[in-house]
């Protein structure tokens, strides 16, 4: 049996409708809420720079603030009519829904993996340019063990 999708797991949560231009999340605002995209188009921005566009139904928004207990780290805005499921207490939802939690963990692992693949490729493409190469080496280390400084690493 296929594991239930996040959209299925969140179906009983309140639905919020956004028009183009509506702001869902503001950078620096308190986190803790989770949103699951039902339909539409959202853009993720940081310091006014668009980082990504979310269009995939089931895409999760806000999980980093829930897991790390931090403020929201980006602006999220609708760029077309959109619908999201709104989960007010993200942590309680995840703890009561292990399947959702595993989906979140898998999503994070996928993002880590995709990021590592790009960083490793850029690292090897810039082998002859020491300044860039060292940047990608630091990024690769951060992806592998989560911090710039592992004192035990060579």
């Amino acid at each position: 049996m296929a594991a239930p999708t996040l959209a299925e797991l969140a179906w009983s949560q309140p639905l919020r409708t956004l028009e183009a231009g509506d702001v869902l999340i503001t950078e620096g605002s308190p986190g803790g809420m989770l949103y699951v995209l039902e339909s539409g188009r959202l853009v993720v921005e940081r310091d006014g720079v668009a980082l990504a566009t979310l269009t995939e139904p089931g895409a999760l928004i806000g999980e980093m603030s829930v897991l790390l207990g931090t403020d929201n780290s980006a602006d999220v805005r609708a760029i077309g009519p959109s619908k999201v499921r709104e989960i007010r207490d993200g942590m309680a939802f995840l703890q009561s829904q292990p399947a959702a939690l595993l989906q979140v963990a898998t999503g994070l692992a996928t993002r880590l993996d995709n990021t590592s693949a790009i960083v490793v490729r850029l690292q090897s493409e810039h082998r002859d340019r020491p300044e860039q190469h060292s940047i990608f080496t630091r990024l690769a280390a951060s992806l592998l063990y989560g911090g710039p400084g592992d004192p035990n690493a060579p």
Partner: protein, 155 residues
């Protein structure tokens, strides 16, 4: 993360002798490991890229979550004891707190990388910025591209 050791107390222990290999790239054990004590080296292409000594550290979570082979060699540098979770997905479904630890850890790594990326973007020269190198990395960190395979795929 000593609570992980408490949460996995019932799982079987395995003792690794000095020099013993736990995972190899290209292999897929399907198991999740928690370090109880000892010292493990993570080796990629002959180079030690990290050393794991913190009790409660998780090993193998990417392979488990993504359903892919191990990407590195993990070898005991000294005699080490680990807990072995043989069926980790089922185990995490029964123990949400363990799943929460695994998710939080992946999240912390993404967050640290994201912070580093913001800092590096300020340092990078204009030419590199124009090439949009860092924006490609940012996009990969934010978007979870649907992937085929693994234990659960989005339809």
């Amino acid at each position: 993360m000593s609570t992980l050791l408490t949460l996995t107390k019932t799982q079987p222990q395995r003792i690794l002798v000095e020099g013993e290999t736990l995972t190899r790239p290209g292999e897929h054990s399907g198991e999740l490991y928690i370090l109880e004590f000892g010292r493990l080296a993570v080796v990629r292409e002959g180079v030690t890229i990290a050393t794991i000594t913190e009790p409660g550290s998780i090993i193998g979570e990417m392979s488990v979550l993504l359903g892919v082979d191990h990407s590195a060699t993990v070898r005991a540098e000294t005699e080490s004891t680990i807990r072995v979770i043989a069926d980790p997905i089922a185990f995490m479904e029964r123990s949400p707190l363990v799943a929460l630890h695994v998710a939080t850890l992946a999240c912390a790594r993404l967050n640290a990388t994201s912070a580093l990326l913001v800092e590096l973007r300020k340092q990078m020269d204009v030419k590199a910025k124009e090439q949009g190198l860092l924006s490609r990395i940012f996009a990969a960190m934010v978007i979870q591209e649907p992937k085929k395979g693994g234990w659960a795929t989005h339809e």
